[in-house]
Subunit: 238 residues, 2 copies
DNA sequence: ACCGTAGGTGTACGCCGTACACCTGTCAAG
DNA sequence: CTTGACAGGTGTACGGCGTACACCTACGGT
C-alpha cells in the first residue's frame, strides 16, 4: 500500500543530507534554479520540511559553502611555504571546478562562513610559518584575493553559466563572433594568439588551468621577492 | 485636477532614464532589493511600462553595467604603459566604489556587455602598445583578472552589503568578535597587525585603498619583469 | 500509560518577473 | 480634416518564489 512507500522513504532527513542534496542539485542545474521547493521535491518532502533543518535559504547557502570548503585538501606539512600554498590553492581550485556555482555563492554572502574563515586562517598560518611578518602576510592575503580560494575570478567565466539548458548542445566554440572581432581588434588578436598555441587541439580559446597557474605563480614569485627583501609597510620596493 | 499632475510627469521616460534610475536605486538600496516594481514606482509608472524600454530584467542589469563602465576615465595617452594601466585601473576602482553593487552584478552576468568588452579591448591595446607580445598580453589579462576592472574581489567585502538596513547604525567595528579570535588565531594576528599601523585613527581594520594598490603594484611589477625578460609561453621564468 | 518533542504537512501571504490585451496621445500621409 | 499607424503607458493575471503559522503524528523516556 501507499503507506509502505512513504514509510520506506523515512531516513529522517538530517541537516547534512539536506545540504548535500542542495549541493548536488546546484551542481546539476545551477544555483540560479536552486529553490527550496525544488530541493524539497528532490528529497521527496514538502518544502516547509526543510525549515526544520535550516533556518532559511541564506543559511542553506552558507551550509552548502561549508560542504564545498570541507572538500579542500588539508594543508600539507611542507618545508617550503610556497609549495605548500601552491598545492593547497590548486586543491581548492579542483574542488571549485566540481562546484561551478560556488564562487558566485561565496562572493554573494555578506559574511564568510566559519569554514571559509578556517581555511583562510590555516593559509595565514602557512605564510607565518614560512617566515612572513604578520604585516606582510596581511597584505599578501589581500593581494591573493579570491584566488586564494581557487577561483580565477574572470570577467567572462564560461564555467559559471551553470544550468546548461538541457539540450546538451555540443559546446559551441564561442571564440568571438566575427562582427565583435571587428569592434574589438585587440581582444581578437590575443584570442587568436591563444588559439594557435600548441594546445589548440580543441581550439576552445585558452587553457584555464594554465592561465590560473600563470597568475598564481606570478603572484607567488612577487610575494617571495618581497619576503626576501624583508618588505615592510610604508616603504615599497622602489 | 489629477490629469494635470499626470500630464506634468510626462517626460516620456527614455531607456537611458530608466537605466539611470535603476543605477541610482541600486546605489541607494542595494541590488538585492532592486525590482522592476520598485523601479517603476520610483519613476512614477506602472511596472509593465519599463518593458517598453528594456526587454527584461537581465537586459536592465546589462544596461546598468554599461552605465557604470561608461563612467571610467578614458585611457590616458602615456609614454609608460605601466603608468597608463595603473591610472586607468584606479579610475575604474573609483567608479566601482560609487556603485558597490556593480562587481557582483558584473560577475553574475554570463556574457560581458559590449561596454565591458570595449574597456578590456582598450586595456589590451595599452599593453600591446607598451611592447607586450599578444601571447604575454593574453596571460597578463588573465592574471589581472577582475582587478583590471577595479575590484579587489575580496572574500569578505564590507562594501558589498549594499542595502544598509535603514537604521544607519554607527558602522560597527566588526574586527573579529573575541570568540572568533580564539578559533582563528592567525587571522586575529594579522587583523591586529593591520590595526596598529600608523593609520589606526578610526581603527576600522585595514585601508582598502592601500591593499588594492599593494596587490595591483605587486602584479604590475611582476608583469614588467616578465616583459623585460622577453617572456614567452612554455618556458616559465624559472 | 503518558506526554513532550522532533520532524513532516497544508494553507496562505506577499513579493517577484512578465505575458497579453488594451487604451491613448501624437503625427504623417491621404 | 480625417485617418490610421505606432510609440508608450495601463490593468489584469499567472506561475514561481521564500516562509510564517497552525497542525498532525510517531516515538522515546518516564
Amino acid at each position: 500500500m501507499v503507506e509502505q512507500a512513504e514509510t520506506l522513504r523515512r531516513k529522517p532527513l538530517s541537516r547534512d543530507g539536506v545540504l548535500r542534496a542542495a549541493v548536488a542539485l546546484a551542481d546539476g542545474t545551477g544555483i540560479e534554479s536552486l529553490s527550496m521547493r525544488k530541493l524539497a521535491q528532490d528529497l521527496g518532502v514538502v518544502p516547509m520540511a526543510l525549515y526544520k533543518h535550516v533556518a532559511n535559504k541564506d543559511e542553506l547557502l552558507d551550509g552548502m559553502i561549508d560542504v564545498v570548503v570541507a572538500e579542500i585538501d588539508p594543508p600539507v606539512p611542507d618545508a617550503d611555504w610556497k609549495a605548500a600554498v601552491r598545492k593547497r590553492i590548486l586543491s581548492a581550485r579542483q574542488v571549485l571546478r566540481r562546484h561551478p556555482w560556488a564562487p558566485l555563492a561565496i562572493e554573494s554572502r555578506t559574511m564568510p562562513t566559519p569554514a571559509v574563515l578556517g581555511y583562510l586562517d590555516s593559509m595565514v598560518g602557512t605564510f607565518r610559518a614560512g617566515g612572513f611578518s604578520a604585516d606582510l602576510t596581511h597584505h599578501v592575503m589581500h593581494a591573493m584575493g579570491s584566488r586564494i580560494l581557487g577561483f580565477s575570478q574572470e570577467l567572462f567565466d564560461a564555467s559559471r553559466r551553470a544550468g546548461r539548458s538541457g539540450t546538451t548542445d555540443p559546446e559551441p566554440p564561442t571564440a568571438l563572433p566575427p562582427e565583435a572581432a571587428a569592434r574589438f581588434p585587440h581582444l581578437a588578436e590575443i584570442a587568436a594568439a591563444a588559439s594557435h598555441d600548441e594546445a589548440s587541439v580543441v581550439g576552445q580559446g585558452c587553457d584555464d588551468q594554465f592561465e590560473f597557474e600563470f597568475a598564481l605563480d606570478l603572484l607567488l614569485d612577487g610575494i617571495e621577492r618581497l619576503r626576501q627583501q624583508g618588505w615592510t609597510s610604508s616603504h615599497r620596493s622602489r
